[in-house]
């Protein structure tokens, strides 16, 4: 038994040594990407812009990862042809070192922009970016570019849309009891929830906002239980963030309770009770980054999607009739935040 283990171990180690003897030069970043499509037009086709994105969850999670992937697809469509804008993705990269390997791999394949779409990827990016000075990296959601010339940072001021949602929620709520379902009280989720609570309090100081943190981004059953608890406690308006809220939406639909969404448009899940969603339009800042990259600046700037620049859009459900005065209030709030006259108070 021991002998065979040694044999196998030797074999495997031998394979590794053989592989390791391949010079590391195979990993050097090749020069500018070659166009992949044969140009069919008479005019010379511009070089395609190649983007790679590494995401912690699935591209169809209806939340964080999907928002970025959809944004990239929208840019691709606006550019007209797939050949003009090439997207590569790695989804479900919740293991940091796997994500680091992915980022490094994409960079070494000569992608123009490698997006590390997850706040947990920061340390990896800090290590990798200096090795690829010709590649532009983008990291979200954060504002920290590490002072590196080839790293962009982006974040979502999700408290803004949260505030607007809160204002509308408080206006529509009859019981004055409002519930929130969140994953963990950190990062983007915390911003949204803080903004939402602030919006509710500003509109109806007598209202109560209760928050249940489920401790996970994906535990759908727990989210539905949290929603049920809120409803039993008298809530008639709910909101939540992260991909697990689909479980909550199902429960709210059954009970006729209203729902406000964030990160993506959740109307299709429950057309009767979804009032509005704060939708992330990352393409607003992505386009800026792409322009900068094309012009030669590979990083050093941070961006935020806000109500002002159209990166955050409150998309109302066309089938839900919001009373006129509430709509006006919403629009005024959006305008106020956008032009800076209103600032969302955060704890």
């Amino acid at each position: 038994m021991r002998r065979l283990s040694w044999i196998v171990a030797v074999l495997v180690l031998g394979a590794i040594v053989a592989g390791a003897c391949t010079p590391a030069a195979t990993e050097a970043p090749p020069p500018e990407a070659q166009p992949t499509a044969a140009p069919a037009e008479p005019t010379a086709a511009p070089e395609p812009f190649r983007v790679a994105v590494v995401m912690p969850s699935a591209i169809n999670d209806l939340a964080f990862s999907q928002s970025m992937y959809d944004a990239l697809v929208r840019i691709q469509e606006s550019m007209g042809r797939e050949a003009a804008f090439e997207i590569a993705y790695s989804e479900g990269m919740f293991v940091i070192e796997d994500a680091a390997a992915a980022i490094r791999d994409y960079a070494s394949q000569g992608y123009d922009l490698v997006i590390a779409h997850g706040s947990q990827y920061g340390s990896s990016l800090q290590e990798i970016a200096p090795d690829f000075p010709e590649t532009s990296f983008a990291w979200g959601t954060t504002l920290d570019t590490f002072g590196m010339p080839n790293v962009f940072a982006y974040e979502a001021r999700s408290e803004q849309g949260g505030y607007v949602n809160g204002v509308v929620a408080a206006s529509l709520s009859e019981s004055g009891v409002i519930g929130v379902i969140g994953p963990i009280e950190t990062g983007d989720a915390k911003l949204y929830v803080d903004g939402f609570s602030a919006g509710v309090m500003a509109t109806d100081p007598a209202a109560t906002v209760a928050t249940v943190w489920t401790g996970s981004f994906s535990d759908t059953a727990l989210a539905s239980q949290a929603a049920q608890t809120h409803i039993d406690a008298g809530a008639d308006v709910l909101t939540g963030t992260a991909q697990m809220v689909t479980g909550a939406i199902g429960v709210t639909q059954e009970s006729g309770v209203l729902w406000f969404g964030t990160q993506s448009n959740q109307t299709s899940l429950a057309p009767e009770i979804v009032v509005a969603s704060q939708v992330y339009h990352w393409e607003v800042v992505l386009s800026e980054m792409i322009d900068l990259i094309r012009a030669g600046t590979l990083g050093g700037e941070s961006f935020a999607i806000t109500l002002a620049n159209g990166g955050l859009v409150i998309e109302f459900n066309p089938d839900y009739a919001v009373p006129a005065e509430v709509m006006t209030l919403a629009e005024d709030t959006i305008a106020g935040i956008a032009d800076g006259s209103m600032v969302v108070p955060l704890p």
């Binding site: 040694w6 495997v12 180690l13 590391a24 992915a102 947990q120 504002l143 963990i184 950190t186």
Partner: protein, 378 residues
């Protein structure tokens, strides 16, 4: 010519080669099924698998990634060898990993000015001890109160994750995060003195050597020391052991403590050699990469032998790294990779019966021959 072929065939079918040929054959069979799935997805299987092998072993960076991935699998797996052989089914690797990583993190953050030569052993030792403590509780509950350890270890995993979340979004959060208002649940980056040294100019760090050393030491422990002998005896036959005077409960607990300690050590190694800070994404898997579970599979593939776990862990590390590379190269959904990994595991583990049947057949043939030769007239 036919004789040479016959000799080759009988050589390949010899017991030690069978142990390699069988899983290899199953591996290839699973790859074939995977190839069909890839073709259905519109991807060239050849391109995909080439990318997979290349990503796992095709360059020094790839090999480094594979070994880095294998390190926690190896440490946890060796711990599992001790536990399972001691009759303790330790499913708590994830929680023990986290406990070890948190302990090391706390020490490193508390004493940022220590030199490497103090900091590194300190971090690793604390990881070892914290993991031991996290494994001791289920061990004691089993020994004293007959509480099933599978259950307690699974529960302790979940408890560890919540503790991790609490600490990282509160007391241990990077002060810079609080200042910036981004509240990412991670600690500050460790002092450079805490980084495990790199072995070659790749990402391969000294933790791999630690893991190899631990595997060899565990082999010595289990087969060359009294303690190890007693642990194995308790696992094989608790009743006979008790009658022989061995304190079954004590050695069971010891097995759990050692197993937890090694998983905790794995956590410390990960946080000091790879990540250089502690973070969470709500579940444990973002940090551990499910090493707490995959380590069990690696140990079982290694026939619960510490040295056998070495190639098993490297195989698994290569599988994961290679599969991710494949996903990137041919742009298939990550879910395909997960499904393929599952198929590979099922095929390889199911193939063992073929090896056992071949062995039985050979043994019977040999016995028949021996009988014949003894009956043959002189």
């Amino acid at each position: 010519m036919p004789r040479a072929l016959a000799r080759l065939q009988s050589r390949l079918l010899s017991p030690s080669w069978l142990a390699v040929v069988t899983p290899l054959g199953a591996f290839l069979a699973a790859l074939l099924v995977g190839a069909a799935m890839l073709a259905l997805l519109g991807v060239s299987p050849v391109e995909a698998y080439a990318a997979m092998f290349d990503g796992a072993f095709g360059s020094s960076n790839a090999a480094a990634d594979t070994l880095v991935k294998a390190t926690p699998l190896l440490l946890v797996g060796v711990g599992i060898c001790i536990a399972f052989r001691g009759g303790m089914l330790n499913i708590g690797g994830e929680g023990q990993l986290i406990a070890g990583a948190l302990a090391a993190t706390a020490a490193i953050l508390a004493f940022p000015t220590l030199p490497s030569v103090v900091m590194i052993p300190l971090g690793l030792s604390l990881g070892f001890l914290a993991g031991a403590a996290w494994g001791a509780l289920p061990g004691l509950l089993k020994a004293r109160l007959q509480v099933n350890e599978i259950l307690t270890t699974i529960m302790m995993n979940a408890i560890a994750v919540q503790a991790l979340n609490y600490l990282l979004r509160g007391p241990m959060m990077d002060p810079q995060q609080v200042v910036e208002g981004s509240f990412i649940p991670q600690t500050a980056r460790f002092a450079v003195a805490a980084d495990l040294p790199r072995l070659v100019p790749t990402r391969l760090h000294a933790g791999f050597l630690v893991a190899l050393l631990v595997a060899i030491l565990t082999w010595v422990l289990l087969w060359r020391t009294t303690v190890g002998f007693r642990i194995r005896a308790v696992g094989l036959n608790p009743f006979a052991s008790r009658r022989a005077g061995i304190r079954v409960g004590r050695y069971g607990v010891m097995a759990m403590i050692l197993s937890g300690a090694l998983a905790g050590l794995a956590g410390a190694v990960q946080v000091m050699g790879v990540n250089h800070r502690m973070f969470t994404d709500g579940s444990s898997a973002g940090f551990t990469g499910s090493a707490g579970f995959n380590g069990i599979v690696a140990a079982l593939f290694g026939q619960l032998h510490p040295v056998g776990t070495i190639p098993a862990a490297i195989f698994f590390g290569g599988l994961i790294v290679g599969a991710n590379a494949m996903q990137r190269a041919v742009q298939i959904p990550s879910a395909m990779i997960t499904a393929l990994n599952g198929l590979l595991v099922v095929f390889v583990v199911s193939s063992d019966i073929w090896r056992r049947r071949m062995l039985q057949r050979q043994q019977r043939a040999e016995a028949a021959r021996a009988l014949q030769s003894s009956e043959a007239p002189p």
